[in-house]
Subunit: 380 residues, 2 copies
């Protein structure tokens, strides 16, 4: 007997209700029956995005929705500003380059959030910048950017603000409309408690206006086609029916709890995790900008970070994430997104203690769990 | 109480084993556990594609895989030959146009298969043609094209042969390697007994060679990225995990039955359906090239085709498809793909009889089912 626990920043664990929704007999997508589901799902997404604008659901991973943002807004030769600071910020640059778009880059040190005044400076220096690409929560470092402040900086310029909220949406606050986010993209396998396979994208009127002059080639990711179809509660191509059925189920659960309560829950899980790892003598990777979405923790000197993750997963069934790219072996990442509650955190910390102890790290067994429990007690 | 039956050409019904596989707790995609599943699925796809080449699985609908074929092979300004003859043949032209590729078109009459010698003529007339885009089974008309004959025509030219096998793969024979198909694309929601949300694409060495000079922009659909990832039993972006788990389950069932037996089953279902509709005094839409994948039947004079489909579905729970584009209201389409057996055909015909009778079409009640039963008895 071995139970498996998932504490990774995508995919995240699925509620049994969502799992079982996917086991239902499939329905055809061009039927009144499916139209009801698509409509419910779209309304639910608008609630989570905190927007009055349309939100389109694509059959793709989150990266597909990122590509949709680029190819629908821009034309080859355009100049944009990309906020990097981790693997997923860099992805914006890669996509732009693939479409011959000049990406000016603000290269934030990994583990730090971007300074919004830096964006302001760059926009002033180059009024040709058509879009600012940023990341709500950089999954590779756990850093959260101050999108509200960035929105204030971008809103009075010609540029549109594009936010990768793949990690973070439905876990921490993101007020698409109130914070002047012109495009928000997200994915299903994070805060929304679904399997991967759906990408989401919302457009403000400002973004729609820019998209009218876009000359990047596109077909599958054309949002003009999506808009036309959605107006008839339809999709331009066969949608990922099963995942949309699950989406509508998951969004019902989100609505029932309410976003505010959900954000507080994520904060509680993150605070407890942070307290626990500190009690084990570990250091946060991003102490100044650690998100409530995923916590990156430095692997202590003398400990093999990859082996730590592998042992927790393959020997004890608890899957957390290691570091990506330049952080490989140097950090571990514990997610708080979606269907995660108090006792999931306890399990994660308990297993971390077990394996750290085996690997020779010095601390008092139980210290991490104690700190987490104390945090939960304080926040009850 | 009302049971629902699906006889549409995508999505198709799901085996309970496949439904339940999707209800399992999700696994992380960067784990040895998922690698086993991805490997099994890829091997299974190679069996169904009848190819030794790699087959990549994309998180997209079939149209995404079609776009992947275009953008990985070609460059803006290239000339290609597209075989049209229905809605999905036309999609090749639309995608090519979106990427500034000149599409020469063979406009086959809807309901007819393409004459391979016409392709030969066009390739001789324009040696600049870099690719021939065709369709195994045109879902909108039920027509099957002779891919084997087309392969013989294309193989000795510079052009690569691209086959849209979204409808048809796993239902009727398609020997990717033996018939010289350079790219075959497919989707999950047809013969493979899965929900929509996965696209598949295979490349021959000839296609890979052409792809090296391709200048179309691409990122999410880059097959160079897919190839690099697959070499490490990985995917370039987060895969649609749940659907791939279901894919590996469905492909086990396919392998157990064996392709030959499966193709015979599809032929039996199609033959019985054709016999039944004829016995009801109806006419096939494509008598000369009707596939064993989906049968299109002309709506008889005086009968409202859209109402027929709607009544069967909304009153009696039996979903068949109506006509698309120029065939709207003029044909009905009954699918034989995937998880469909004898008694599904009987149900479909029985319901068709019921509603046709109510709508005033003249025939002897039971005549269709009788003809189907006779066909099954003959083929038992």
């Amino acid at each position: 007997m071995r139970k498996n626990y998932l504490l990774t920043p995508g995919p995240t664990p699925l509620p049994p209700e969502v799992c079982l929704a996917m086991a239902r007999p499939i329905v055809h997508h061009r039927t009144p029956q499916f139209q009801v589901i698509l409509k419910e799902a779209t309304e639910g997404l608008k609630y989570v995005f905190q927007t009055k604008n349309d939100v389109y659901t694509l059959a793709s991973s989150g990266t597909g929705a990122m590509e949709a943002a680029v190819v629908n807004l821009l034309s080859p030769g355009d100049t944009v500003l990309v906020i990097q600071g981790g693997k997923f910020g860099e992805r914006w640059t890669e996509i732009c380059k693939s479409y011959c778009i000049n990406a000016e880059v603000i290269d934030v040190e990994w583990g730090k959030a971007v300074d919004p005044s830096e964006i302001q400076k760059r926009l002033k220096a180059n009024p040709k910048i058509k879009a600012v690409f940023t990341t709500l929560c950089e999954t590779s470092t756990g850093v959260v950017n101050d999108i509200e402040a960035i929105g204030k900086v971008v809103k009075d310029t010609e540029a549109v603000l594009v936010v990768d909220a793949i990690s973070g949406l439905g876990a921490i606050d993101l007020k698409t409309d109130a914070w002047f986010c012109d495009i928000v993209v997200s994915g299903s396998q994070k805060g929304l408690m679904l399997p991967p396979g759906l990408g989401f994208i919302s457009l403000s009127p400002k973004a729609e206006k820019l998209s009218e002059s876009s000359k990047c080639p596109k077909y599958y990711f054309s949002l003009k086609a999506a808009k036309k179809a959605w107006a008839q509660t339809d999709t331009p191509f066969t949608p990922a029916i099963t995942l949309i059925v699950a989406l509508s189920e998951a969004l019902k659960m989100v609505k029932e709890d309410g976003l505010e309560k959900i954000f507080l829950r994520h904060k509680k899980m993150a605070d407890a995790t942070r307290a626990a790892v500190k009690a084990l003598g570990l250091e946060l990777f991003a102490p100044s900008a650690s998100s409530d979405v995923v916590t990156a923790v430095k692997v202590p000197a003398g400990i093999d970070g990859e082996k730590l993750v592998k042992t927790m997963r393959d020997t004890y069934g608890v899957t957390i994430a290691g570091g990506q790219a330049e952080l490989r072996g140097r950090v571990i990442r514990v997610a708080h997104m979606g269907y995660i509650e108090e006792f999931d955190v306890i399990i994660g910390i308990s297993c971390l203690e077990k394996v750290l102890k085996q690997m020779g790290h010095k601390f008092e067994l139980g210290a991490g769990v104690k700190a987490a429990e104390e945090m939960f007690a304080r926040k009850a």
